[in-house]
């Protein structure tokens, strides 16, 4: 039996397509480019996506969609917010999810995950929910995020599971709230993401950052990444 909360998602979940002027996700050339991007991501990183998706019970479609939205499949160096690599994880987020894993998820990390994370960041033993991150630990996490693609995918997947559990309601997990929180940050969004909220309500709520609302359309909109994935893999 699964130890995690079950996810129910509709695809597409909103009758709207992402359009920023330069990119209209319903234009044939953009659809073709986005399909090609997802194929490349799964071809290059499918092994890690399968492994960690299986560990944290997150579907390949969701992981490929997150990587496509976050980084376009480019293993990018840290940006001004220190978001790094394919899943654009920051050292602070890594510290947060590892130090509060059991509290939020309700069960400890599996031996596989714990062993892998300890190997990637040996200071994991010093991570504590009641202590601020030290510069030495931050630097170690930052280096792992930059240089270890598998770690970047594994910890990004762990973050998705952490957020699915953090925002569960009525015994169900909600990927739309996870998308907003992954993008806008857990603490800045948690107060506004209580209960059951539809994707349309989230997209129309201008108190959320424009980027987070666009994120929802890129993933859950018509011809968004999940829509394209399931049209291709029916």
């Amino acid at each position: 039996m699964s130890k995690y909360t079950k996810l129910e998602v509709k695809v597409p979940d909103i009758n709207r397509t992402y359009n920023s002027g330069a990119y209209n996700y319903s234009k044939p050339e953009t659809i073709m480019a986005n399909n090609a991007m997802m194929n490349t991501i799964f071809r290059d990183y499918g092994k890690f996506i399968n492994k960690w998706g299986s560990e944290f019970e997150v579907d390949n479609s969701i992981l490929v969609g997150f990587i496509a939205t976050e980084s376009g499949g480019v293993n990018a160096p840290p940006n001004r917010f220190e978001a790094t690599g394919l899943m654009q994880m920051t050292p602070l987020t890594v510290y947060e999810i590892l130090s509060k894993w059991e509290k939020i998820v309700g069960s400890p990390l599996s031996k596989t995950a714990s062993t892998f994370f300890t190997k990637a960041i040996p200071s994991i033993k010093k991570i504590d929910a009641n202590t601020e991150i030290t510069s030495a630990i931050k630097s170690e996490i930052s280096n792992a995020l930059k240089s270890n693609i598998e770690f970047n995918i594994a910890i990004g997947t762990a973050n998705i599971r952490w957020l699915l559990e953090a925002f569960k309601a009525d015994g169900k997990a909600f990927i739309n709230k996870v998308m907003v929180s992954y993008n806008a940050g857990y603490y800045s969004s948690k107060g506004s993401l209580r209960g059951v909220i539809t994707t349309t309500q989230l997209v129309n709520n201008k108190t959320f950052p424009l980027e987070s609302r666009g994120y929802l359309l890129k993933m859950l909109g018509v011809n968004g990444f999940l829509d394209l994935w399931f049209k291709k893999n029916k």
Partner: protein
């Protein structure tokens, strides 16, 4: 119970089982099991809104 009644009863049971299976398949025709849950594939009757989002 005579043989004829037993046959009708068996046919009845098989009919209910097949009917139930077909109905369940029909009701979940757009539902796919994914790792960690389910996805319901849906379509809309009208074209999607293409208006860019604003602040």
């Amino acid at each position: 119970m005579d043989r004829r009644k037993k046959i009708f009863l068996a046919i009845g049971f098989v009919g209910v089982a097949v009917g139930g299976f077909v109905l369940a398949k029909f009701l979940t025709r757009n539902v796919r099991k994914i790792r960690g849950g389910t996805v319901t594939l849906q379509t809309f009757d009208t074209p999607p809104i293409e208006e860019p989002l604003t602040e």
